[in-house]
Symmetry: C3
Subunit: 466 residues, 3 copies
Amino acid sequence: MPLHPDRLLPPDPTARAIARRLYQSVRALPIISPHGHTDPNWYADNAPFPDPATLFVKPDHYIFRMLYSQGVKLEALGVPRLDGAPVETGGRKIWHLFADNYHLFRGTPSRLWFEHSLQEVFGVEERLNPDNADRLYDRIAELLGQADMLPRALYERFNIEVISTTDAATDALAAHDRIKASGWKGRVVPAYRPDAVVDASRKDFRGEVERFLALAGAPATYEGYLDAHRSRRAYFKQRGATSTDHGHPNARTADLPRGEAEALFERVLKSEVSAEDADLFRAQMLTEMARMSVDDGLVMQIHPGSYRNHNPQLFAGFGLDKGADIPTRTDYVHDLKPLLDAFGNDPRLTLILFTLDETTYGRELAPLAGHYPALRLGPPWWFFDSPEGMRRFRELTTETAGFYNTVGFNDDTRAFCSIPARHDMARRADCAYLAELVADHRLDEDEAHELAHDLAYRLAKQAYRL
Amino acid sequence: MPLHPDRLLPPDPTARAIARRLYQSVRALPIISPHGHTDPNWYADNAPFPDPATLFVKPDHYIFRMLYSQGVKLEALGVPRLDGAPVETGGRKIWHLFADNYHLFRGTPSRLWFEHSLQEVFGVEERLNPDNADRLYDRIAELLGQADMLPRALYERFNIEVISTTDAATDALAAHDRIKASGWKGRVVPAYRPDAVVDASRKDFRGEVERFLALAGAPATYEGYLDAHRSRRAYFKQRGATSTDHGHPNARTADLPRGEAEALFERVLKSEVSAEDADLFRAQMLTEMARMSVDDGLVMQIHPGSYRNHNPQLFAGFGLDKGADIPTRTDYVHDLKPLLDAFGNDPRLTLILFTLDETTYGRELAPLAGHYPALRLGPPWWFFDSPEGMRRFRELTTETAGFYNTVGFNDDTRAFCSIPARHDMARRADCAYLAELVADHRLDEDEAHELAHDLAYRLAKQAYRL
Amino acid sequence: MPLHPDRLLPPDPTARAIARRLYQSVRALPIISPHGHTDPNWYADNAPFPDPATLFVKPDHYIFRMLYSQGVKLEALGVPRLDGAPVETGGRKIWHLFADNYHLFRGTPSRLWFEHSLQEVFGVEERLNPDNADRLYDRIAELLGQADMLPRALYERFNIEVISTTDAATDALAAHDRIKASGWKGRVVPAYRPDAVVDASRKDFRGEVERFLALAGAPATYEGYLDAHRSRRAYFKQRGATSTDHGHPNARTADLPRGEAEALFERVLKSEVSAEDADLFRAQMLTEMARMSVDDGLVMQIHPGSYRNHNPQLFAGFGLDKGADIPTRTDYVHDLKPLLDAFGNDPRLTLILFTLDETTYGRELAPLAGHYPALRLGPPWWFFDSPEGMRRFRELTTETAGFYNTVGFNDDTRAFCSIPARHDMARRADCAYLAELVADHRLDEDEAHELAHDLAYRLAKQAYRL
């Protein structure tokens, strides 16, 4: 059964007709992907993607977290163990396990993304089930070997205008250089993500800072450390970066007097760092990053509020990013104040805020973004990057911050084939919302058309200075 | 005016037609009632229910809290005072007071439950008002005397397959034994609720623990106390219990080293207990209960976040459960971690979480339940056991945790006649939600039918191991 | 294009037809405006309003905060600087800046209020844009000079039955006296807002208290200070006041033993006040105000949870109320307890609660108001005084607190021409909500008609004792 052309549009016939018109006018717009986690080596190497299980199941924590929650072992899904103990390697067997449990995904965006990919990339219009699992596996595996399924071909087929990767501060960006050197016309830009050299609570922090300073040839002083950031940011910018990204446990910022910041830096470089010092250093660095953004024009993003690796047993067995990161309450009003006091009114800064705490949309984020010139709201993130999540985002922010303090859509994904599916879902969700504003006469349809275009394309391009 | 057959189904004709089909396929399924507060003596004694006011008004804190909020005295509603001072005893007079204020219940689930009971149990299809109050009173009173209105007859008429009561750890379960001895085929099982011997902040805590230890013949050591729990849990299990229930002010858990737990136990048994010690002891006991559940297979339920007896004047006059329990913020991410670190990945544990803080649905509960194999989400509880509350629950949890990390419906009631009304409301609300997913093409209708059946019947039976 | 007669009503034809009937029955009811910020001098002086920019842009922080968030300088909008530095004075130029950025208001209530005012007050049925800006400016400017555009004429044309201003405790209420002396039949009453003499964290606190004590001829003791409140409340009451209003950073209340309260009062009168003392004094004063309300019958309002003047740079340049007040989390359950312990059951007290933290609607406010006889819920406030905000308010409070623990609508505005627009929006939003309850058969239509009338008119009048 093919995907319904009106999926995610409002059931009411009046609203649906409006939504259809809006969606038709934006569905084919190029994709701007200003924040995501695809691997730049894909575009550099242009090697074929491997088997269906490796494409759709093994690397996708949305998929395997749900299976794990219902008792499926990660080993059985082929997720590698840190200790090198054997895990399932048979792609077909993993694919069957997915098919057997496919009902778990009813009502989830993962299901919609997966089926959109199946249909649009692989021409499969059937619902996966134990009976057709083999046949679909064979079909996808066969197609994956063809030339028009290589990463660059898909980039072009997906109508991507520009895509940003996310890269460690110490990354040499060799893959990005190879892309450029290859003469390929695709635009793949890096984003500066310095968490590993900013978060002193990580085990590898001191080692990372050493490498970082060495790369920039900077001394182990606070000024040297800041210079190293300036140097690496310039390096990224030279390779096309227009943004930085900061994933912190909270939104705390600080703007310490220089002497205190220097003393703090000395303390966090020592072997034992208190939780408070680590937190304060992260806070201080957000303000320093804003200061540098004012100078070099890189757009700043803060992704706060994830309790990383909540499950220590899973973390010990499998490491990071295994679906055990859990959102926590976030306070933007008090936490962002030091940074905003310094740069909130500065027209040179664009600071894009994300959240995992939807209670802040109406209470904190929309009022802040509806006031401070430097602030913009990022789209619904992670768990909330879903039809309901997108609706809540608009319902809770539009009346206070309007549409123009938001920045369009981010797919934020490492699942390459899901990129068109995710942008399509966002376009449908926004058109559905706009159609309802037209249907109850809060907005005129000509305005809704302009907005649909802005939300699908223009705002992301402008906000990220792409 | 009879209840509308389409009540609570979506107004949009397309969605309503789908919802009708779904609802028709589940409306007559047997009732699984795995968590509630009916009195086991009703089924043991099978004595007639008293007058209409005693059936519908006096014992129902949903009803009298609303009347009280608008200035009606509890005395006038016949709610007994602790000091034995006289209160209204005239059932007809109380019924009139209810009828006079019936407009207060517009838009509330209490109104819908009450009218469903009136119609389905008593054949009354009129809206209660001061003019028909006497007539309706007489009709209900007359019917209450008939044989087909006795508790066992109603149990059968309501098509209940199994119902769980909630019982103190020290309860001898004599009523349950009498039910079994009677040869009646109804299935009434107890649930182990040890709050009175776990919450050291209660005035009667030490006395309760003494009785508890004596029942099990256990010494007043921590090990003896844990043995007493093991012994009572086994006693409950023998009588059909499949679950335990824990009503705590918060979701805090702890897993202390043995020596610390023993010292804490000694401290809480003394006359003066600090608030922190009482809190820590409750926290420790949740983890001990999980440990025992891993061993004996009882499903564990946590009901956290109620500020009990917020109104001291009312509490002094009338005691517990008088509508003055107020929800508070709850933190599951940090509070549950010690328990989850120990047993969150254990396939032998089923831990069902409830909440009075809806902000945790999307931010905490769905991400936790969508990851930890031991966790499941209980249905909307108490104030949120309503059409809007059920919709919010699904909208905020499905996309992250799916349907299969939830456990169907609990009626959680002490109002016997409202049991079919409450299950019917839940079935309608779930069918309405599913119909909207079908109507905007997120779900196929065959899947929605299977889900409707799962949500109405199968999931509760499976999750509670009934 | 004229405003659509069905705007804000549900798109579904069945629900819309019901909503239309409900709305038709309440649209022309007189306006009760029990809480707002219009200037009593307008009614006393009855002088013409100035130019369009001064009417619609310069004084409206909803308007200029959005423009500021997108980089428009407040100086360019004619907002006066504290240092007297020149700002734009050309009304036409400011008007053009507004017209150029009019798209920013898409989807906001500001847009709907503005267009309702344009059409209903000035007969303008066009959407403002850079091309028609001059023409509209001229038209409005011309009409503003006419006799039927004077404040008293507009009051009558708006069908206002009574309007409350908000006045400092030290205000002599001379304008109110002049209104009365004029013989005009309009009813304009003051409300007692003592924040300036209660909030010891304000720079001018000691000076204000001195003036306050002097006005009442009271000594600088705690008793004298309380007497001064009693005296000023009586003064306000004599001039028609029926309510007090308290805008605090949080909802904290305290009921200190007399000696402690006296010592606290001495401390806050000294030059250096700790943040905790200032907070505790505000908390204590809320309970004192409740105690006085029990005596004098003034209805009490608490507006908590705004972080005032979050932007220090803007505050230094332009002062208070420039769109930089940001909501924060509020805790009513613990914070209100001391006050409720003392007066929550007292039938003589009406305490109306507002919130900027919507997460408290279902979790705290509805359960509290659905229990305590003294409590009522104020309508959605400030950022949430919008169609979506009103819907969330009803969806989250009705099932627990019903409709009759709410108090109708407050326009809360200083924008005179927006008063009918705001009441009209509230009537539409409530009729839309009621229509949906009728459409899914939770409510009968005759009840919905009675409720629509209650929500639009009766409840405000009763709750505020007007």
